[in-house]
Subunit: 420 residues, 4 copies
Amino acid sequence: MTIADVRAAAPPLLDRLTQARAQTESLCAPLEVEDYVVSSMTDVSPTKWHLAHTSWFFETFVLAPFDSSYVTPNPKYAFLFNSYYVQAGERHCRAQRGLVTRPTVAEVYAYRAHVDAALRALVERIGDDPNHPAMPVIELGVHHEQQHQELLLTDIKHAFSLNPLEPAYARATPHCVASVAPLAWHRFGEGLHEIGAAPGAFCFDNETPRHRVHVHSFALAHRLVTNGEFLEFIRDGGYDRPGHWLADGWALRQAQAWRRPLYWSDSLESQFTLAGRRPIVAAEPVCHLSYYEADAYARWAGARLPTEAEWEVASRTQGASGNLVEGGQLAPSAATAGTELQQMLGAAWEWTASAYSPYPGFRVSAGALGEYNGKFMANQYVLRGGSCATPAAHIRRSYRNFFYPHQRWQFAGIRLAKDA
Amino acid sequence: MTIADVRAAAPPLLDRLTQARAQTESLCAPLEVEDYVVSSMTDVSPTKWHLAHTSWFFETFVLAPFDSSYVTPNPKYAFLFNSYYVQAGERHCRAQRGLVTRPTVAEVYAYRAHVDAALRALVERIGDDPNHPAMPVIELGVHHEQQHQELLLTDIKHAFSLNPLEPAYARATPHCVASVAPLAWHRFGEGLHEIGAAPGAFCFDNETPRHRVHVHSFALAHRLVTNGEFLEFIRDGGYDRPGHWLADGWALRQAQAWRRPLYWSDSLESQFTLAGRRPIVAAEPVCHLSYYEADAYARWAGARLPTEAEWEVASRTQGASGNLVEGGQLAPSAATAGTELQQMLGAAWEWTASAYSPYPGFRVSAGALGEYNGKFMANQYVLRGGSCATPAAHIRRSYRNFFYPHQRWQFAGIRLAKDA
Amino acid sequence: MTIADVRAAAPPLLDRLTQARAQTESLCAPLEVEDYVVSSMTDVSPTKWHLAHTSWFFETFVLAPFDSSYVTPNPKYAFLFNSYYVQAGERHCRAQRGLVTRPTVAEVYAYRAHVDAALRALVERIGDDPNHPAMPVIELGVHHEQQHQELLLTDIKHAFSLNPLEPAYARATPHCVASVAPLAWHRFGEGLHEIGAAPGAFCFDNETPRHRVHVHSFALAHRLVTNGEFLEFIRDGGYDRPGHWLADGWALRQAQAWRRPLYWSDSLESQFTLAGRRPIVAAEPVCHLSYYEADAYARWAGARLPTEAEWEVASRTQGASGNLVEGGQLAPSAATAGTELQQMLGAAWEWTASAYSPYPGFRVSAGALGEYNGKFMANQYVLRGGSCATPAAHIRRSYRNFFYPHQRWQFAGIRLAKDA
Amino acid sequence: MTIADVRAAAPPLLDRLTQARAQTESLCAPLEVEDYVVSSMTDVSPTKWHLAHTSWFFETFVLAPFDSSYVTPNPKYAFLFNSYYVQAGERHCRAQRGLVTRPTVAEVYAYRAHVDAALRALVERIGDDPNHPAMPVIELGVHHEQQHQELLLTDIKHAFSLNPLEPAYARATPHCVASVAPLAWHRFGEGLHEIGAAPGAFCFDNETPRHRVHVHSFALAHRLVTNGEFLEFIRDGGYDRPGHWLADGWALRQAQAWRRPLYWSDSLESQFTLAGRRPIVAAEPVCHLSYYEADAYARWAGARLPTEAEWEVASRTQGASGNLVEGGQLAPSAATAGTELQQMLGAAWEWTASAYSPYPGFRVSAGALGEYNGKFMANQYVLRGGSCATPAAHIRRSYRNFFYPHQRWQFAGIRLAKDA
């Protein structure tokens, strides 16, 4: 089923809400109680926190304003589970999220059930009124829930990777070992394009407004860079030659002693995955790279990273299926043997050369929800396309994900571009 | 029952071993699974780790050398649960103890049971042979277990204190509100004394050899400094006047913005305890102080901290009962109304003015067990007397506890001394 | 004399070289020997180092390759005075530049004279051959020298500002106290423009290639934001309301306790300048702001920062005179009373909303000189227009300066823009 | 001339004051103006600061209270040149001492001359009145001046060592290459001794009160450990085996990657000295060691460091000449060929096993001068005996120097002891 199919078949809001909330919980099925508690670095939140925070989001932005009868099970949850919404009140220190053993996991599930029941009652009360002001916020909450589904997976992967016992979250699926075609290039001519979300369907505010941009001619690689190709970079001294690197990237590579992608073994033979330690398969896309590594690889390869406008323009030419979370692969799978443009959606997020900035004419919304995206528009880079951990109902061509250039714990890989 | 009684009634080693192991587990009864996992700062270990590490100690130093049939349930436990014994092999990074969710709590209890069964079989095989080389190591393991019982409590107290929900580990016991007598002084004349553990009974190596020391005449306060007295220090600007402080202490007080003992509220009215937040009772001993705060208080009061030799000489004149963990108070209780020398054992550890150094003639044992105490003989101070969290079978007059002068999470308080 | 006049009158290369080298030294005239030595933070280099590094640049990139008879006075200077050119060899740690007392100031001047003599001989030997490969490198060296003239001033200002004696580098010039016009807006329509340096005249590589860009309609403020306007922001709680700030900016403002521009007094009445402590004049441009402060001010004012394309397009409509270093003001001077577009060149660098990225089609040069600009194209923002410390012969409309968003020690101020 | 001779011939106070002040300045003769400015780490102060601080000491503690006509040349000097006397007012941040280029060196010398003239007039006015309250403070100021003479040398050595040009402060003196005798041991029996300064002559407060201490029998090595002996420790893996090290020492050795004494080359063949880089001579004493290295060496050698009481008791049996600063060697010189107890005074400070604590009965003086020593009595170790950089008039058997166990930039070496 393609993503377009998924969307075309979009069920009513209540069903989507129910489905999204259930999907979060089903992702937790393989976990032990202990696994829900820890935060293995500041970027990583405990599973327990993801479960509670997404509930707090609905409580704060939907139930509190639109359901006067709603009572929270614990007023201190507002402090514990607010992430970064300054205008929504004081909040717990992010660095201490992993130190809080209570509420217990059982209490957090009870909190979810409490919020779900209230939400369901509210949506049923609203009925089919598409103009009720709660509707867009509930919709936003569904997409927010989906974002945390992906984070929940990347975070538990990181936590497990630090455990000398190397626990597996999931069973390994058999890897395709077929080889992929050598890199082929698809050319796109110079011209004025519109990018950004088209009105009508849901999008985040950072995808708006749709606007004109002049794009120079360029060529885009038909698939993602593979583990095998990245190994060549390593073996050619890619991590030892500052000439390939941005200055900030080189400084970080030195300070952190980076010598290979996150999760790869010293021997370059295995990598830690959600299915535990597994051999590195040459045909599969490389991922868990920082922007700096992606950029250095591109220079070494005589290419560059695409801009987000280039990516968006090119993506429209590709069909919309992909290796997304529902496939259960939970790792980037190899390209097909053909040279058609592929892997634009799913498999691995693609670092673009575009700094994360507001689109021309972008307006921050009033109130705490205005903090959702806008205040992060500095020092980060845009990633496009979703990954093997992204829900199908969540990704779209105009979607702008963003991370700091040093971050490696997301499923982020490389799509090459060049001037043409 | 006095401590002497406890010791006089010392049961056979197997019974003491069984009792100590059980006491550790009974201390965990109030905890939820989630509580076992976290480490709220580098000094603090997860409950789960304490349970496993004490088992690893027996496995490594008793079962491995003396029971050739012993098989560990998981060879990686040796890596995960070695604390600091360099000669016993590589070990997990202390700072990451709280990130390891597996083995689960249930698996750790199974590990304990496995080790206990093997130990029991070994001791029964050895029978009554007091010269079997395993005997002193098992004895050491019992005392090691007891040390971790105290740490388990101070660690869970710290972890709970950082949780905005302020969980309670135990029910509050009613506080005695009777007032205590003003500080009275007991004088001791100049002379040559022997200090250190007398041969015969168990002691740690750092209490040996018993040796002669010249002690100048001194006077010792009859009881610990109270919360009420410490409040006067605060209200007199004790935390604002560098003249009372050691230079390193003042620098730390500035850097950490110390204004009151750890766990006290800003209002100086309540403190976090193992029974949750409770009012500060003036008559009860102040504790959770760093050495610097204890020393600054003593200067402000026109007194000083006692040396460990003074403390040991004076302690021999007092009867041996005290507010120890078996009493279940889990907080330092107030002195009696009298002015006899008291609270020397239990209630709160007493910072001494003595840097933690080897006694004259001290020898480090060969092998990894030689790392137990000797390698820490720098930069720390000796504390004496045990606390409300110390097992009765563990404490003795020659016992030398040691912590860094900045550490505050132990039940450490103040006994004043002066020249006389 | 306008900048165009300066350029029109551009003398032969040797004269420009001689003039630039002499101007660097004349900027040092007010300094004591001691002043040449220190580095008050990692961003700041000692005056002595600037004098030597600019000489090393000519030595390494001009004399070494093009003058086979050249001998350096000390081979270790190559290690000491290489800034960041990895391909030019090992170099001294930036953080230790201020710890190196030798060579002495006198020895550094002798080094300059040695290099100057060899350069002069080389240029005379080359004669008028415009195709000699040394010519563009010498030209680059002249502009490099000018860059360091500005840094020399901003660096000595920072060093002096940390001295409790508050030394003055220069005499104060009388400040214009006339008031400026309220902010007026100049509107520019949507369209396709070319930006970047036009071929023919000297430019840095980061200004190339000249390329097409689609610019949406916008309005630009006629002058820089003044101290008086910025004071309103402060008094309105601008530094206390996270809603105005980018998330990274707010985190930094908290960590660094920013409450006002760098160099302003707590009382908001005076600021440290190159002429010592001076009253804050309301009509003069505010400067020494981070990107975050500039951005927060713009949000508070209901506006935004311009993109670099907007800035460049608008700048072409303004005449080319400005408050540059030759004016001797050494502080941003007030706008005129009119509302014509002004202060585009000189006075204070203008933070743009544009992340510092390569232009479409940008190519890094081969060899060490390729490190001049390209490797810094991440995590920084573009500033435009030059400042009161910029040499007139150095600035141009296509000039892309770049600094990290947290940096405040440059003469960086605010030009507002809005959608229109 | 022995130290006893120096003291016996002690001239009147004014002469000693004049001599001490002149000696400080003569130590600066080899320096360039630039050398006076820098601080190469927080422990190191600029020469300029030493010159000014010692003058401030006299100004603050002698001239201000005892000479009502005294006027300081600049009231801000009190802020700039107070080191750590909190009760003497606010002071400049230690970490920024090396950033202050003004006052210039010439101005600092003028400050010294100003203070000297006032002091001379004051002492002449006081005449021979030994009971005048200024007298003991001037005496203290002379010894304070001498302390800074040693620091001035160790500090400039450190600063020069970081300069890739490796400047030499002094000419190299020819090194004695004669071999020294194998380590011989001098035994001292158990008994009650008095240690601490005897009344009558000048001493610092930390040497008082003279008091009884019980010393167990011990043996002391006849000379300092040599470079050759320390090389054996290195070659035997001394820096690689944690079993030799205190836990804190090992952690630091790991964090700092210590592999050899400070100032030694990687090749173990040369060391940086005040005469520039020089070969390591096996017979000369090893120095520039931390406490941890000294302690690890002693364990490796099957010995230990002496306590300060042992050192003081033993030192009384040795004659009082030594390799002190007046000898001009400026490096520790080799022992004689004999096995008599030697090198107790001069050559290198000897780390003792004694934590720096107050003597029994020690009283801190009232007022700011009470901060001279007492507030540092935590976390440091006592060193005894002076070094090749110590003035002869400064050292004595009861002298207690103290440094943190991690510090290596002093001339600190090893004297072995053992139980006997």
